[in-house]
Protein backbone atom coordinates (compact mmCIF):
# COMPACT_ATOMS: atom_id res chain seq x y z
CA UNK A 1 0.00 0.00 0.00
CA UNK A 2 2.50 2.52 1.18
CA UNK A 3 4.93 1.75 -1.57
CA UNK A 4 2.21 2.23 -4.09
CA UNK A 5 1.33 5.63 -2.77
CA UNK A 6 4.95 6.75 -2.96
CA UNK A 7 5.30 5.88 -6.60
CA UNK A 8 2.28 7.97 -7.55
CA UNK A 9 3.35 11.29 -6.15
CA UNK A 10 2.33 13.03 -9.31
CA UNK A 11 -1.25 11.78 -9.15
CA UNK A 12 -2.63 14.80 -7.24
CA UNK A 13 -1.20 17.11 -9.88
CA UNK A 14 -2.96 15.09 -12.55
CA UNK A 15 -6.21 15.81 -10.76
CA UNK A 16 -5.37 19.47 -10.50
CA UNK A 17 -4.03 20.26 -13.93
CA UNK A 18 -7.27 20.73 -15.92
CA UNK A 19 -8.64 23.14 -13.36
CA UNK A 20 -5.35 24.95 -12.80
CA UNK A 21 -4.98 25.68 -16.50
CA UNK A 22 -8.44 27.25 -16.59
CA UNK A 23 -7.89 29.05 -13.31
CA UNK A 24 -4.56 30.60 -14.18
CA UNK A 25 -5.61 31.52 -17.69
CA UNK A 26 -9.05 32.96 -17.06
CA UNK A 27 -9.14 34.07 -13.44
CA UNK A 28 -5.71 34.49 -11.92
CA UNK A 29 -3.96 35.93 -14.98
CA UNK A 30 -6.54 38.61 -15.75
CA UNK A 31 -6.76 39.50 -12.05
CA UNK A 32 -3.02 40.01 -11.83
CA UNK A 33 -3.19 42.04 -15.04
CA UNK A 34 -5.85 44.07 -13.24
CA UNK A 35 -3.42 44.67 -10.43
CA UNK A 36 -0.87 46.10 -12.83
CA UNK A 37 -3.60 48.29 -14.29
CA UNK A 38 -4.23 49.64 -10.79
CA UNK A 39 -0.71 51.07 -10.83
CA UNK A 40 -1.48 53.15 -13.89
CA UNK A 41 -3.62 55.91 -15.23
CA UNK A 42 -5.46 54.43 -18.19
CA UNK A 43 -8.64 55.28 -20.11
CA UNK A 44 -8.76 51.91 -21.95
CA UNK A 45 -8.03 53.36 -25.40
CA UNK A 46 -4.92 55.44 -24.80
CA UNK A 47 -1.48 54.57 -23.45
CA UNK A 48 -1.34 53.52 -19.80
CA UNK A 49 0.78 55.83 -17.63
CA UNK A 50 2.58 54.29 -14.66
CA UNK A 51 1.76 56.13 -11.43
CA UNK A 52 2.93 53.66 -8.79
CA UNK A 53 0.61 53.58 -5.81
CA UNK A 54 -0.77 57.01 -6.70
CA UNK A 55 -4.27 55.64 -7.25
CA UNK A 56 -4.29 54.04 -3.80
CA UNK A 57 -3.14 57.25 -2.15
CA UNK A 58 -5.87 59.18 -3.95
CA UNK A 59 -8.40 56.55 -2.97
CA UNK A 60 -7.97 56.94 0.74
CA UNK A 61 -8.42 60.68 0.42
CA UNK A 62 -11.56 60.24 -1.71
CA UNK A 63 -14.63 60.99 0.46
CA UNK A 64 -16.90 59.17 -2.02
CA UNK A 65 -14.89 56.02 -1.58
CA UNK A 66 -14.99 56.24 2.20
CA UNK A 67 -18.73 56.77 1.97
CA UNK A 68 -19.16 53.78 -0.30
CA UNK A 69 -17.19 51.68 2.16
CA UNK A 70 -19.36 52.72 5.10
CA UNK A 71 -22.51 52.12 3.06
CA UNK A 72 -21.35 48.65 2.07
CA UNK A 73 -20.68 47.70 5.67
CA UNK A 74 -24.15 48.94 6.60
CA UNK A 75 -25.61 46.89 3.78
CA UNK A 76 -23.80 43.79 5.06
CA UNK A 77 -25.11 44.40 8.55
CA UNK A 78 -28.64 44.49 7.13
CA UNK A 79 -28.37 41.45 4.90
CA UNK A 80 -25.79 38.92 6.09
CA UNK A 81 -27.66 37.70 9.21
CA UNK A 82 -30.96 37.24 7.40
CA UNK A 83 -29.33 35.64 4.39
CA UNK A 84 -27.43 33.10 6.49
CA UNK A 85 -29.99 32.32 9.18
CA UNK A 86 -32.94 32.68 6.83
CA UNK A 87 -31.22 30.52 4.25
CA UNK A 88 -30.66 27.81 6.84
CA UNK A 89 -34.23 27.94 8.13
CA UNK A 90 -35.72 27.75 4.66
CA UNK A 91 -33.39 24.92 3.72
CA UNK A 92 -34.45 22.98 6.83
CA UNK A 93 -38.08 23.64 6.00
CA UNK A 94 -37.88 22.39 2.43
CA UNK A 95 -35.78 19.44 3.61
CA UNK A 96 -38.76 18.13 5.58
CA UNK A 97 -40.91 15.46 3.96
CA UNK A 98 -43.69 17.93 3.21
CA UNK A 99 -45.97 17.97 0.21
CA UNK A 100 -45.07 20.77 -2.16
CA UNK A 101 -41.50 21.14 -0.99
CA UNK A 102 -40.19 20.93 -4.55
CA UNK A 103 -42.54 23.76 -5.48
CA UNK A 104 -41.26 25.78 -2.53
CA UNK A 105 -37.62 25.12 -3.44
CA UNK A 106 -38.31 26.21 -6.98
CA UNK A 107 -40.12 29.38 -6.03
CA UNK A 108 -37.57 30.44 -3.44
CA UNK A 109 -34.83 29.92 -5.99
CA UNK A 110 -36.69 31.48 -8.92
CA UNK A 111 -35.84 35.14 -8.25
CA UNK A 112 -32.18 34.20 -8.63
CA UNK A 113 -32.62 33.43 -12.33
CA UNK A 114 -34.30 36.69 -13.31
CA UNK A 115 -32.26 39.33 -15.10
CA UNK A 116 -31.15 42.19 -12.89
CA UNK A 117 -32.78 44.93 -14.98
CA UNK A 118 -36.14 43.21 -14.70
CA UNK A 119 -35.68 42.77 -10.96
CA UNK A 120 -35.09 46.53 -10.84
CA UNK A 121 -38.44 47.25 -12.48
CA UNK A 122 -40.27 44.79 -10.25
CA UNK A 123 -38.96 46.46 -7.12
CA UNK A 124 -39.51 49.94 -8.43
CA UNK A 125 -43.12 48.96 -8.85
CA UNK A 126 -43.23 47.64 -5.30
CA UNK A 127 -41.37 50.49 -3.62
CA UNK A 128 -42.47 53.56 -5.57
CA UNK A 129 -43.76 56.28 -3.27
CA UNK A 130 -46.77 57.15 -5.45
CA UNK A 131 -47.93 54.13 -7.37
CA UNK A 132 -45.98 51.48 -5.48
CA UNK A 133 -47.97 48.56 -4.24
CA UNK A 134 -46.22 48.29 -0.88
CA UNK A 135 -47.43 51.73 0.12
CA UNK A 136 -50.84 50.90 -1.32
CA UNK A 137 -51.29 47.90 0.95
CA UNK A 138 -49.61 49.59 3.93
CA UNK A 139 -52.22 52.30 3.47
CA UNK A 140 -54.91 49.81 4.49
CA UNK A 141 -53.06 49.37 7.77
CA UNK A 142 -53.11 53.12 8.26
CA UNK A 143 -49.41 53.57 7.53
CA UNK A 144 -48.49 56.77 5.72
CA UNK A 145 -46.74 56.46 2.35
CA UNK A 146 -42.98 55.98 2.70
CA UNK A 147 -40.63 57.29 0.03
CA UNK A 148 -38.68 54.03 0.04
CA UNK A 149 -36.16 54.62 -2.69
CA UNK A 150 -35.86 58.38 -2.53
CA UNK A 151 -35.24 58.87 1.19
CA UNK A 152 -31.70 58.51 2.46
CA UNK A 153 -32.93 56.55 5.48
CA UNK A 154 -35.12 54.03 3.68
CA UNK A 155 -33.23 53.47 0.44
CA UNK A 156 -30.65 51.06 1.86
CA UNK A 157 -33.15 48.95 3.84
CA UNK A 158 -35.27 48.75 0.68
CA UNK A 159 -32.28 47.52 -1.31
CA UNK A 160 -31.53 45.06 1.48
CA UNK A 161 -35.07 43.63 1.40
CA UNK A 162 -34.84 43.15 -2.35
CA UNK A 163 -31.44 41.51 -1.96
CA UNK A 164 -32.68 38.97 0.55
CA UNK A 165 -35.59 38.14 -1.73
CA UNK A 166 -33.29 37.88 -4.71
CA UNK A 167 -30.37 35.86 -3.37
CA UNK A 168 -31.59 33.79 -0.44
CA UNK A 169 -32.19 30.90 -2.81
CA UNK A 170 -28.45 30.62 -3.31
CA UNK A 171 -27.82 29.97 0.38
CA UNK A 172 -30.83 27.69 0.58
CA UNK A 173 -29.35 25.47 -2.12
CA UNK A 174 -26.01 25.21 -0.31
CA UNK A 175 -27.58 24.46 3.05
CA UNK A 176 -29.90 21.95 1.47
CA UNK A 177 -26.96 20.13 -0.06
CA UNK A 178 -25.22 20.22 3.33
CA UNK A 179 -28.27 18.84 5.11
CA UNK A 180 -28.54 16.03 2.60
CA UNK A 181 -24.99 15.00 3.42
CA UNK A 182 -25.85 14.36 7.06
CA UNK A 183 -26.73 10.68 7.43
CA UNK A 184 -30.24 10.16 8.75
CA UNK A 185 -28.93 7.38 10.95
CA UNK A 186 -27.15 9.82 13.22
CA UNK A 187 -30.26 11.87 13.80
CA UNK A 188 -32.38 8.81 14.37
CA UNK A 189 -29.87 7.44 16.85
CA UNK A 190 -30.07 10.66 18.82
CA UNK A 191 -33.85 10.57 18.70
CA UNK A 192 -33.94 7.01 19.97
CA UNK A 193 -31.72 8.16 22.84
CA UNK A 194 -34.58 10.48 23.75
CA UNK A 195 -33.29 13.79 22.39
CA UNK A 196 -35.90 16.43 21.55
CA UNK A 197 -36.07 17.92 18.06
CA UNK A 198 -34.30 21.00 19.33
CA UNK A 199 -31.53 18.91 20.89
CA UNK A 200 -31.12 16.95 17.68
CA UNK A 201 -30.77 20.17 15.75
CA UNK A 202 -28.36 21.77 18.21
CA UNK A 203 -26.21 18.73 19.02
CA UNK A 204 -26.27 16.74 15.79
CA UNK A 205 -27.39 18.75 12.78
CA UNK A 206 -25.64 22.05 13.45
CA UNK A 207 -22.19 20.65 14.31
CA UNK A 208 -22.26 18.34 11.32
CA UNK A 209 -23.34 21.24 9.15
CA UNK A 210 -20.38 23.39 10.21
CA UNK A 211 -18.36 22.93 6.98
CA UNK A 212 -21.38 24.07 4.96
CA UNK A 213 -22.03 26.94 7.33
CA UNK A 214 -18.47 28.15 6.93
CA UNK A 215 -18.80 28.05 3.16
CA UNK A 216 -22.12 29.87 3.23
CA UNK A 217 -20.96 32.58 5.61
CA UNK A 218 -17.82 33.16 3.63
CA UNK A 219 -19.62 33.34 0.28
CA UNK A 220 -22.32 35.58 1.76
CA UNK A 221 -19.71 37.96 3.14
CA UNK A 222 -17.94 38.08 -0.19
CA UNK A 223 -21.09 38.46 -2.25
CA UNK A 224 -22.64 41.14 -0.09
CA UNK A 225 -19.41 43.09 0.08
CA UNK A 226 -19.34 42.97 -3.70
CA UNK A 227 -23.02 43.91 -4.09
CA UNK A 228 -23.61 45.65 -7.38
CA UNK A 229 -26.54 44.77 -9.61
CA UNK A 230 -29.31 45.32 -7.05
CA UNK A 231 -28.12 48.81 -6.26
CA UNK A 232 -27.40 49.63 -9.88
CA UNK A 233 -30.93 48.89 -11.03
CA UNK A 234 -32.91 50.08 -8.00
CA UNK A 235 -31.34 53.35 -6.91
CA UNK A 236 -28.26 53.74 -9.05
CA UNK A 237 -26.47 54.57 -5.79
CA UNK A 238 -28.62 57.56 -4.82
CA UNK A 239 -30.16 59.52 -3.28
CA UNK A 240 -27.20 61.65 -2.24
CA UNK A 241 -24.97 58.54 -2.48
CA UNK A 242 -26.92 56.87 0.33
CA UNK A 243 -26.77 53.51 -1.43
CA UNK A 244 -23.43 53.86 -3.18
CA UNK A 245 -21.45 50.65 -2.65
CA UNK A 246 -17.79 49.93 -3.29
CA UNK A 247 -18.18 47.73 -6.35
CA UNK A 248 -20.62 50.18 -7.81
CA UNK A 249 -18.11 52.97 -7.28
CA UNK A 250 -15.51 50.82 -8.95
CA UNK A 251 -17.87 50.26 -11.89
CA UNK A 252 -18.57 53.99 -12.21
CA UNK A 253 -14.88 54.87 -12.16
CA UNK A 254 -13.85 52.10 -14.56
CA UNK A 255 -16.65 52.08 -17.07
CA UNK A 256 -18.46 55.41 -16.79
CA UNK A 257 -15.58 57.75 -16.03
CA UNK A 258 -13.17 55.61 -18.08
CA UNK A 259 -10.59 55.64 -15.27
CA UNK A 260 -9.68 52.00 -15.38
CA UNK A 261 -6.55 52.38 -13.27
CA UNK A 262 -8.44 54.01 -10.43
CA UNK A 263 -11.25 51.47 -10.71
CA UNK A 264 -8.79 48.60 -10.51
CA UNK A 265 -7.22 50.14 -7.44
CA UNK A 266 -10.66 50.07 -5.80
CA UNK A 267 -10.90 46.39 -6.69
CA UNK A 268 -7.67 45.66 -4.86
CA UNK A 269 -8.73 47.62 -1.80
CA UNK A 270 -11.90 45.52 -1.81
CA UNK A 271 -9.64 42.48 -1.98
CA UNK A 272 -7.66 43.65 1.05
CA UNK A 273 -10.80 44.24 3.08
CA UNK A 274 -12.23 40.86 2.21
CA UNK A 275 -9.05 39.07 3.15
CA UNK A 276 -9.23 40.72 6.57
CA UNK A 277 -12.91 39.79 6.92
CA UNK A 278 -12.28 36.20 6.04
CA UNK A 279 -9.36 35.89 8.43
CA UNK A 280 -11.52 37.24 11.24
CA UNK A 281 -14.36 34.93 10.25
CA UNK A 282 -12.04 31.93 10.24
CA UNK A 283 -10.68 32.70 13.69
CA UNK A 284 -14.18 33.21 15.03
CA UNK A 285 -15.56 30.02 13.55
CA UNK A 286 -12.60 27.99 14.69
CA UNK A 287 -13.27 28.99 18.24
CA UNK A 288 -16.95 28.26 17.74
CA UNK A 289 -16.08 24.87 16.30
CA UNK A 290 -13.75 24.02 19.19
CA UNK A 291 -16.36 24.77 21.78
CA UNK A 292 -19.09 22.61 20.35
Amino acid sequence: MKGKKKSYKWVPYLFLIPYLIAFFAFRFGPSIAGFFVSLTRWNIVGQAKFVGFGNFVELFKDPNFIKSLVNTLYFMLLTVPSLVIGGLLIAMLVDQPLKGRTVARTFVFMPYVIMSTVVGVIWLWIFDAHFGILNYYLGFLGIKPIAWLSSINWAMPAVAIATVWWTIGFNMILFLAGLQDIPNELKEAARIDGASSWQVFWNVTLPLLTPTTIVVIMLTLINTFQVFAQVYVMTGGGPSMATLTVVQYMYVQSFQYYRLGYGSAIAYVIFMFLVIFILIEKKFLKRFGDES
Binding site: K9, V11, P12, Y13, F15, L16, P18, Y19, A22, F23, F26, R27, P30, S31, A33, G34, V37, I44, L93, V94, G100, T102, R105, T106, V108, M110, P111, V113, I114, M115, G120, I122, L124, I126, H130, F131, I133, I173, L174, L176, A177, G178, Q180, D181, P183, N184, E185, P211, I214, M218, L219, F228, G236, M250, S254, G263, A267, F271, V275, I278
Partner: protein, 283 residues
Protein backbone atom coordinates in the same frame (compact mmCIF):
# COMPACT_ATOMS: atom_id res chain seq x y z
CA UNK B 1 -52.84 11.90 22.71
CA UNK B 2 -51.26 15.16 23.72
CA UNK B 3 -48.14 14.34 21.78
CA UNK B 4 -50.10 13.69 18.62
CA UNK B 5 -51.86 17.02 18.91
CA UNK B 6 -48.55 18.76 19.27
CA UNK B 7 -47.16 16.96 16.24
CA UNK B 8 -50.15 18.01 14.21
CA UNK B 9 -49.70 21.60 15.26
CA UNK B 10 -46.06 21.53 14.25
CA UNK B 11 -46.99 20.07 10.89
CA UNK B 12 -49.58 22.77 10.39
CA UNK B 13 -47.04 25.41 11.32
CA UNK B 14 -44.52 23.96 8.87
CA UNK B 15 -47.07 24.10 6.07
CA UNK B 16 -47.89 27.65 6.99
CA UNK B 17 -44.25 28.67 6.62
CA UNK B 18 -43.92 26.70 3.42
CA UNK B 19 -46.84 28.58 1.90
CA UNK B 20 -45.45 31.86 3.23
CA UNK B 21 -42.14 31.16 1.48
CA UNK B 22 -43.92 30.38 -1.76
CA UNK B 23 -46.06 33.49 -1.63
CA UNK B 24 -43.36 35.99 -0.71
CA UNK B 25 -40.97 34.74 -3.33
CA UNK B 26 -43.54 34.30 -6.04
CA UNK B 27 -45.57 37.44 -5.53
CA UNK B 28 -43.16 39.83 -7.29
CA UNK B 29 -42.75 37.29 -10.07
CA UNK B 30 -46.48 37.02 -10.40
CA UNK B 31 -46.52 40.71 -11.21
CA UNK B 32 -43.91 40.16 -13.90
CA UNK B 33 -46.04 37.37 -15.32
CA UNK B 34 -49.25 39.37 -15.27
CA UNK B 35 -47.49 42.38 -16.80
CA UNK B 36 -46.22 40.29 -19.67
CA UNK B 37 -49.85 39.84 -20.74
CA UNK B 38 -50.84 43.50 -20.43
CA UNK B 39 -50.75 46.20 -23.07
CA UNK B 40 -48.08 48.80 -22.30
CA UNK B 41 -50.39 51.48 -20.91
CA UNK B 42 -51.86 49.16 -18.26
CA UNK B 43 -48.69 47.87 -16.65
CA UNK B 44 -47.90 50.50 -14.05
CA UNK B 45 -51.52 51.20 -13.22
CA UNK B 46 -52.72 52.47 -9.89
CA UNK B 47 -54.30 50.96 -7.83
CA UNK B 48 -52.57 47.64 -8.62
CA UNK B 49 -54.36 45.62 -11.27
CA UNK B 50 -53.85 41.88 -10.72
CA UNK B 51 -55.88 40.71 -13.66
CA UNK B 52 -55.14 42.19 -17.08
CA UNK B 53 -58.17 44.13 -18.36
CA UNK B 54 -57.18 43.47 -21.96
CA UNK B 55 -55.00 40.36 -21.93
CA UNK B 56 -52.76 40.16 -24.95
CA UNK B 57 -50.04 38.04 -26.54
CA UNK B 58 -48.63 41.06 -28.34
CA UNK B 59 -45.60 41.42 -26.04
CA UNK B 60 -44.59 37.84 -26.76
CA UNK B 61 -45.18 38.07 -30.48
CA UNK B 62 -43.26 41.35 -30.57
CA UNK B 63 -40.21 39.77 -28.90
CA UNK B 64 -40.36 36.61 -30.97
CA UNK B 65 -40.95 38.27 -34.33
CA UNK B 66 -38.67 41.32 -34.10
CA UNK B 67 -35.70 39.69 -32.44
CA UNK B 68 -33.71 36.53 -32.75
CA UNK B 69 -34.96 35.30 -29.41
CA UNK B 70 -34.66 31.61 -30.25
CA UNK B 71 -31.02 32.08 -31.19
CA UNK B 72 -30.22 33.94 -27.96
CA UNK B 73 -31.94 31.20 -25.96
CA UNK B 74 -29.95 28.57 -27.80
CA UNK B 75 -26.68 30.41 -27.11
CA UNK B 76 -27.55 30.87 -23.46
CA UNK B 77 -28.46 27.24 -22.98
CA UNK B 78 -25.44 25.88 -24.83
CA UNK B 79 -22.90 28.13 -23.15
CA UNK B 80 -24.38 27.64 -19.68
CA UNK B 81 -24.73 23.86 -19.99
CA UNK B 82 -21.29 23.31 -21.49
CA UNK B 83 -19.68 25.56 -18.91
CA UNK B 84 -21.56 23.72 -16.18
CA UNK B 85 -20.36 20.31 -17.34
CA UNK B 86 -16.76 21.43 -17.68
CA UNK B 87 -16.84 23.10 -14.28
CA UNK B 88 -18.26 20.06 -12.53
CA UNK B 89 -15.70 17.82 -14.13
CA UNK B 90 -12.55 19.85 -13.54
CA UNK B 91 -13.65 21.33 -10.22
CA UNK B 92 -14.54 18.00 -8.68
CA UNK B 93 -11.19 16.58 -9.79
CA UNK B 94 -9.33 19.49 -8.26
CA UNK B 95 -11.48 19.53 -5.14
CA UNK B 96 -10.81 15.83 -4.63
CA UNK B 97 -7.09 16.47 -4.72
CA UNK B 98 -7.35 19.42 -2.35
CA UNK B 99 -9.64 17.65 0.09
CA UNK B 100 -8.23 14.13 0.20
CA UNK B 101 -4.66 14.10 -1.07
CA UNK B 102 -1.38 15.06 0.46
CA UNK B 103 0.99 16.85 -1.86
CA UNK B 104 3.49 19.66 -1.82
CA UNK B 105 1.95 23.12 -1.96
CA UNK B 106 -1.58 21.96 -1.25
CA UNK B 107 -2.39 24.71 1.21
CA UNK B 108 -0.56 27.48 -0.61
CA UNK B 109 -2.19 26.65 -3.91
CA UNK B 110 -5.61 26.39 -2.30
CA UNK B 111 -5.18 29.74 -0.57
CA UNK B 112 -4.17 31.41 -3.83
CA UNK B 113 -7.26 30.03 -5.51
CA UNK B 114 -9.64 31.03 -2.72
CA UNK B 115 -8.13 34.50 -2.52
CA UNK B 116 -9.28 35.12 -6.08
CA UNK B 117 -12.88 34.97 -4.80
CA UNK B 118 -12.17 38.28 -3.17
CA UNK B 119 -11.08 40.11 -6.29
CA UNK B 120 -14.19 41.61 -7.91
CA UNK B 121 -14.78 39.93 -11.25
CA UNK B 122 -15.25 43.29 -13.02
CA UNK B 123 -11.52 43.93 -12.80
CA UNK B 124 -10.82 41.02 -15.14
CA UNK B 125 -13.11 42.19 -17.94
CA UNK B 126 -10.71 44.37 -19.91
CA UNK B 127 -7.67 42.06 -19.59
CA UNK B 128 -9.86 39.11 -20.59
CA UNK B 129 -11.17 41.02 -23.56
CA UNK B 130 -7.68 41.84 -24.83
CA UNK B 131 -6.68 38.21 -24.33
CA UNK B 132 -9.62 36.88 -26.34
CA UNK B 133 -9.08 39.53 -28.99
CA UNK B 134 -5.50 38.31 -29.38
CA UNK B 135 -6.67 34.72 -29.67
CA UNK B 136 -9.27 35.81 -32.24
CA UNK B 137 -12.02 34.21 -30.20
CA UNK B 138 -14.35 37.16 -29.72
CA UNK B 139 -17.90 36.66 -30.95
CA UNK B 140 -17.78 32.94 -30.30
CA UNK B 141 -19.50 30.64 -27.86
CA UNK B 142 -16.04 29.64 -26.68
CA UNK B 143 -15.53 33.17 -25.41
CA UNK B 144 -18.72 32.84 -23.38
CA UNK B 145 -17.76 29.46 -21.92
CA UNK B 146 -14.05 29.57 -21.13
CA UNK B 147 -13.92 32.37 -18.51
CA UNK B 148 -16.49 30.51 -16.40
CA UNK B 149 -14.27 27.45 -16.24
CA UNK B 150 -11.75 29.38 -14.18
CA UNK B 151 -14.35 30.05 -11.50
CA UNK B 152 -13.44 29.60 -7.86
CA UNK B 153 -16.77 29.08 -6.12
CA UNK B 154 -17.16 25.52 -7.40
CA UNK B 155 -13.76 24.36 -6.15
CA UNK B 156 -14.35 26.07 -2.83
CA UNK B 157 -17.74 24.45 -2.22
CA UNK B 158 -16.73 21.01 -3.44
CA UNK B 159 -13.48 20.92 -1.47
CA UNK B 160 -15.35 21.73 1.68
CA UNK B 161 -17.96 19.05 1.01
CA UNK B 162 -15.39 16.44 0.03
CA UNK B 163 -13.55 17.05 3.27
CA UNK B 164 -16.60 16.07 5.29
CA UNK B 165 -17.05 12.66 3.67
CA UNK B 166 -16.19 10.03 6.31
CA UNK B 167 -12.73 8.57 5.76
CA UNK B 168 -13.83 4.95 6.48
CA UNK B 169 -15.90 4.95 3.30
CA UNK B 170 -12.79 5.75 1.30
CA UNK B 171 -10.59 3.37 3.29
CA UNK B 172 -12.81 0.47 2.35
CA UNK B 173 -12.20 1.21 -1.29
CA UNK B 174 -8.47 1.68 -0.82
CA UNK B 175 -8.25 -1.74 0.78
CA UNK B 176 -10.04 -3.12 -2.26
CA UNK B 177 -7.15 -1.71 -4.26
CA UNK B 178 -9.06 0.99 -6.09
CA UNK B 179 -6.94 3.70 -7.70
CA UNK B 180 -7.46 7.39 -7.09
CA UNK B 181 -9.53 7.83 -10.21
CA UNK B 182 -11.74 4.90 -9.25
CA UNK B 183 -12.28 6.38 -5.79
CA UNK B 184 -13.07 9.75 -7.26
CA UNK B 185 -15.41 8.37 -9.89
CA UNK B 186 -17.24 5.60 -8.11
CA UNK B 187 -17.22 6.77 -4.50
CA UNK B 188 -16.70 10.49 -4.21
CA UNK B 189 -18.96 11.62 -7.02
CA UNK B 190 -21.97 9.48 -6.02
CA UNK B 191 -21.50 10.42 -2.39
CA UNK B 192 -21.38 14.11 -3.13
CA UNK B 193 -24.37 14.16 -5.44
CA UNK B 194 -26.24 16.88 -3.52
CA UNK B 195 -23.26 19.20 -3.41
CA UNK B 196 -22.36 18.57 -7.03
CA UNK B 197 -25.87 19.40 -8.11
CA UNK B 198 -25.71 22.53 -5.95
CA UNK B 199 -22.53 23.60 -7.74
CA UNK B 200 -24.11 22.71 -11.06
CA UNK B 201 -27.13 24.88 -10.32
CA UNK B 202 -25.02 27.81 -9.16
CA UNK B 203 -22.66 27.61 -12.13
CA UNK B 204 -25.47 27.35 -14.62
CA UNK B 205 -27.34 30.29 -13.12
CA UNK B 206 -24.34 32.57 -12.90
CA UNK B 207 -23.73 32.01 -16.60
CA UNK B 208 -27.41 32.38 -17.36
CA UNK B 209 -27.70 35.85 -15.84
CA UNK B 210 -24.18 37.07 -16.62
CA UNK B 211 -24.19 40.44 -18.39
CA UNK B 212 -20.94 42.38 -18.45
CA UNK B 213 -18.65 39.78 -20.02
CA UNK B 214 -21.13 38.62 -22.70
CA UNK B 215 -21.77 42.29 -23.41
CA UNK B 216 -18.17 43.16 -24.22
CA UNK B 217 -17.03 39.85 -25.69
CA UNK B 218 -19.82 39.38 -28.22
CA UNK B 219 -21.02 41.84 -30.83
CA UNK B 220 -22.80 39.78 -33.44
CA UNK B 221 -26.43 38.94 -32.93
CA UNK B 222 -25.73 35.31 -33.78
CA UNK B 223 -23.72 34.74 -30.63
CA UNK B 224 -25.63 36.98 -28.25
CA UNK B 225 -27.01 35.58 -24.99
CA UNK B 226 -30.42 36.32 -23.48
CA UNK B 227 -29.51 39.08 -20.99
CA UNK B 228 -27.55 41.03 -23.60
CA UNK B 229 -30.22 40.41 -26.22
CA UNK B 230 -32.99 41.61 -23.96
CA UNK B 231 -30.96 44.73 -23.14
CA UNK B 232 -31.53 45.68 -26.79
CA UNK B 233 -35.09 46.70 -26.09
CA UNK B 234 -35.01 47.28 -22.39
CA UNK B 235 -33.07 50.01 -20.66
CA UNK B 236 -34.14 49.65 -17.06
CA UNK B 237 -34.50 53.06 -15.50
CA UNK B 238 -36.54 55.55 -17.45
CA UNK B 239 -35.55 59.17 -17.56
CA UNK B 240 -31.85 58.42 -17.59
CA UNK B 241 -31.89 56.38 -20.75
CA UNK B 242 -33.47 58.95 -23.06
CA UNK B 243 -35.81 56.32 -24.44
CA UNK B 244 -39.40 55.79 -23.39
CA UNK B 245 -39.65 52.71 -21.16
CA UNK B 246 -41.22 49.65 -22.71
CA UNK B 247 -42.01 47.25 -19.91
CA UNK B 248 -44.28 44.74 -21.65
CA UNK B 249 -41.78 43.15 -24.06
CA UNK B 250 -39.12 43.07 -21.34
CA UNK B 251 -41.45 41.25 -18.96
CA UNK B 252 -42.50 38.79 -21.64
CA UNK B 253 -38.88 38.14 -22.57
CA UNK B 254 -37.82 37.77 -18.94
CA UNK B 255 -40.65 35.34 -18.35
CA UNK B 256 -39.65 33.22 -21.32
CA UNK B 257 -36.03 33.40 -20.24
CA UNK B 258 -36.80 31.92 -16.83
CA UNK B 259 -38.42 28.79 -18.25
CA UNK B 260 -35.27 26.93 -19.39
CA UNK B 261 -33.50 27.92 -16.17
CA UNK B 262 -36.36 26.59 -14.06
CA UNK B 263 -36.35 23.37 -16.05
CA UNK B 264 -32.64 22.91 -15.35
CA UNK B 265 -33.24 23.67 -11.70
CA UNK B 266 -36.03 21.12 -11.43
CA UNK B 267 -33.88 18.54 -13.17
CA UNK B 268 -30.89 19.08 -10.88
CA UNK B 269 -32.72 19.48 -7.61
CA UNK B 270 -33.89 15.87 -7.91
CA UNK B 271 -30.40 14.94 -6.77
CA UNK B 272 -31.06 16.52 -3.41
CA UNK B 273 -32.06 13.14 -2.04
CA UNK B 274 -30.60 11.13 0.69
CA UNK B 275 -28.93 8.20 -0.97
CA UNK B 276 -25.52 8.29 0.53
CA UNK B 277 -25.34 5.02 2.33
CA UNK B 278 -26.88 3.06 -0.48
CA UNK B 279 -24.33 4.08 -3.09
CA UNK B 280 -21.47 4.05 -0.64
CA UNK B 281 -21.52 0.37 0.05
CA UNK B 282 -21.16 -0.68 -3.57
CA UNK B 283 -17.34 -0.06 -3.73
Amino acid sequence: MKNRGKKRLIRLLLYFFLILCIITSFFPILWMTVSAFKPEGEILSYPPQWVPLHPTWSNFSYVLSKFNFARWTFNSIVSAVVAMIIVIFIDSLAAFAFARMKFRGNRVLYSIIISMLMVPIQVTIVPLYLMFANMNLLNTLIALILPTTGNVTGVFILTSFFKSVPQDLLDAAIVDGAGSFRIWWSIMLPLARPSISAVAIITFMSNWTSFLWPLVSVSSDASRTLPVGIAQFFGGQSGVSGSAPQYGPAMAAALMATIPAIAIFLFLQRYFVKGIMMTGIKG
